[in-house]
């Protein structure tokens, strides 16, 4: 197992990862609550980016509706907690199950007929929008008026019910991000991982080699959906309020794919690098706007749009591939083909 996890990672890379991890563990002891929230957001986007990357980066299926799985995961765990007092640690299985089924339905509809590329992307958006409008009228979770989790001033952290401080959520998210990174690293070196890359590069060739492309695309969408829903559970318990108009909105789907695209689609480090760059830049922008006294909604999104535009135009492979070359980490591994 350990051998599998270490395969194909250069020694300098390991060292950097270790330093980075130590930094992430230590930082909350030295910085303000606000900065911990920012770090939490970086990890959150790195995690969902990693989950999305399984579909797009590994298997080559462009999903633009991942907000669907975040929303379903969030609503399932939150509703079980509020209505029945069920701990999110149990609720998350329901979240993963529901999201996996949703992913399977979309995948089944699309992959059975070879609906791919942009058609698939549009289908994923359509399902997210369908859910958004549906949840607006879903009275069990209070429809469009929003679903709220009970909040109090917590003096101690209740990990079992996920009620507590920002720092608790931060460490939880850190654990999840590390686990996601390790899981994806292992996945890429598994049979399914190699099949996915083959499907991404050439579905026809993959099929000719005897790979059941329908089955492996389904694995990708189900796995990605289930993983994304976990981020939804954290989202629900961290923010304590859920609005269909926000959580299922197309802008959320786009927001959560920015990090892996800017970092580098299909790379393991991409989502983390992208999330870090994007969040740092966005926070910087916020600070500048605060200084200038400008408070206009939409500025942040315009900024995201410009970042995305510049990256797709000038760095079509993302920031990480050239960066890793700079750091001397570009030894050929299966996740970064030539």
């Amino acid at each position: 197992m350990i051998k599998l996890l270490l395969a194909g990672v250069p020694r300098t890379g390991l060292l950097m990862l270790a330093i980075l991890l130590a930094l992430f563990v230590a930082l909350p002891f030295f910085v303000s609550d606000y900065l911990v929230t920012v770090l939490f957001l970086i990890l959150y986007f790195a995690f969902v980016g990693q989950a999305w990357n399984i579909m797009m980066g590994f298997a080559g299926q462009l999903s633009l509706g991942h907000a669907l799985y975040v929303g379903l995961g969030a609503y399932a765990a939150a509703a079980l907690y509020v209505h029945f007092g069920i701990s999110p640690w149990i609720g998350l299985w329901a979240s993963m199950g529901i999201s996996a089924v949703a992913g399977a339905i979309i995948g089944f509809l699309a992959f059975r007929f070879g609906v791919g590329g942009v058609y698939f992307a549009i289908l994923t958006i359509a399902f997210a929008e369908f859910a958004r409008i549906g949840f607006d009228h879903f009275t069990w979770v209070d429809g469009s008026s929003g679903f709220f989790l009970p909040v109090a001033n917590y003096t101690e952290n209740d990990l079992w019910n996920l009620r507590g401080s920002t720092r608790m959520f931060y460490y939880l998210m850190l654990g999840m991000t590390v686990a996601a990174l390790l899981a994806c690293h292992a996945l890429l070196r598994s049979r399914a991982g190699y099949y996915w890359l083959a499907i991404r590069e050439s579905p026809e060739a993959a099929q000719a080699l005897g790979i059941n492309i329908f089955k492996y695309k389904m694995y990708a969408v189900v796995l990605s959906a289930a993983m994304t829903s976990l981020a939804g559970v954290i989202f629900a318990f961290f923010y304590n309020n859920l609005f269909p108009e926000q959580i299922f909105h197309i802008s959320r789907s786009i927001e959560l794919i920015l990090a892996p695209i800017i970092g580098g689609v299909g790379t393991l480090a991409g989502p983390l690098v992208g999330a870090f760059l994007l969040t740092a830049l966005a926070e910087g922008l916020r600070e500048v706007m605060l200084q200038l006294g400008v408070d206009v909604p939409g500025v942040k999104q315009v900024f995201y749009g410009i970042c995305l535009l510049l990256v797709v135009m000038f760095l079509p492979d993302g920031v990480w591939p050239p960066l890793s070359k700079l750091l001397g980490l570009d030894r050929k591994t299966p996740d970064r083909e030539g």
């Binding site: 797009m56 462009l62 633009l64 509809l109 699309a110 007929f113 070879g114 609906v115 590329g117 942009v118 058609y119 992307a121 549009i122 289908l123 958006i125 359509a126 399902f127 929008e129 369908f130 409008i133 549906g134 607006d136 009228h137 197309i250 802008s251 786009i254 695209i261 689609v265 206009v296 909604p297 939409g298 500025v299 999104q301 315009v302 995201y304 749009g305 410009i306 995305l308 535009l309 797709v312 135009m313 079509p316």
Partner: protein, 297 residues
């Protein structure tokens, strides 16, 4: 519920369906723009609805500042959008033609994101509309009561669509564009300036959506947030009708218009787009190439 006047339920349905049909024709024109762009340039314009709201805001500004009727302003607005589309294709999208599909898509997602939020910054999030002299007029046609605004908009949509059909069918330029769509390399070999023709096509598609935006302005209110919704609606229409099929786009528009109108009547109006998505899923299940689309391998 059915006690108002002497209307019987069947007539209500008929009226709502007729109203949906008229709106659907305008939807169809909007989707026609998307279909033309996709059919020729093979790029999916993810900023389609956002471009439409740009047109709507121009119409709004022209109306409030100069009292210009959106159905008249349609002509200059289409010209502005044509120029915008031409420059967008010539400047940003042409270098992306040989890039992978998802890369093109992300480029347009970025443009959409910038457009919608610039509108939010410029005009704010509130819904704004125009009131023309015929806003509350209607025509009685047997049992049907036809809203004048919708009727005018639908007629305008048909005229523009017919002009576009004629352009592609009968002019040399239209033929050249169709040649690019049929065989990219062949078009290059016979000496067509493909990049220029692509830019023209994108301009034409943008002009269609611009005209449709001006027409919709007399029917609905505009907010920046309807942009992404209409992008999606255009996709649903084009996939339903058949990607790349021009009559398919109009048919899809009418179908979606009527479905939404009846869905809104039968259930609640806010859930009406769910029916459009339901239709999309059905089409993808049973006829993935669309109603009038050609089967591809």
């Amino acid at each position: 519920m059915f006690t108002r006047g002497s209307l019987v339920p069947a007539e209500i349905y008929l009226n709502v369906a007729a109203s949906g049909l008229l709106t659907g024709l305008v939807y169809g024109l909007m989707a026609l723009g998307l279909s033309v762009i996709f059919g020729v340039v093979r790029v999916v314009n993810f900023a389609h609805g956002e471009m439409m709201t740009v047109a709507m805001y121009i119409a709004l500004v022209l109306f409030t500042a100069y009292g210009l009727d959106p159905l008249v302003a349609m002509v200059p607005i289409a010209a502005v959008l044509f120029a915008f589309g031409y420059l967008l294709q010539a400047g940003l999208i042409n270098p992306f033609i040989t890039r992978p599909e998802h890369s093109q898509f992300m480029l347009l997602v970025a443009i959409a994101l910038i457009l919608v939020n610039l509108q939010l910054i410029a005009f704010g999030p509130d819904a704004q509309g125009v009131h023309t002299s015929y806003s509350f007029d209607s025509y009685a046609l047997g049992p049907l009561i036809i809203d004048a605004s919708k009727a005018y908009a639908a007629i305008a949509a048909l005229v523009v669509a017919a002009a576009l059909f004629a352009f592609f069918r009968f002019t040399l330029l239209g033929k050249a564009i169709r040649a690019c769509a049929d065989n990219y390399h062949g078009a290059l070999v016979v000496g067509l300036n493909v990049k220029h023709l692509y830019a023209l096509t994108f301009g034409l598609g943008a002009a269609c959506v611009g005209a449709a935006g001006a027409m919709l302005m007399v029917v609905i209110d505009v907010t920046p947030s309807i942009g992404p919704a209409y992008t999606l609606l255009a996709f649903v229409i084009v996939i339903t009708g058949g990607m790349g099929s021009m009559p398919g786009a109009l048919l899809g528009g009418v179908l979606i218009g009527v479905t939404e109108a009846l869905g809104g009547l039968l259930f609640t109006p806010s859930a009406k787009s769910m029916f459009a998505f339901g239709l999309l899923v059905l089409v993808l299940l049973f006829r993935p190439q669309g109603i009038l689309g050609k089967k591809t391998a």
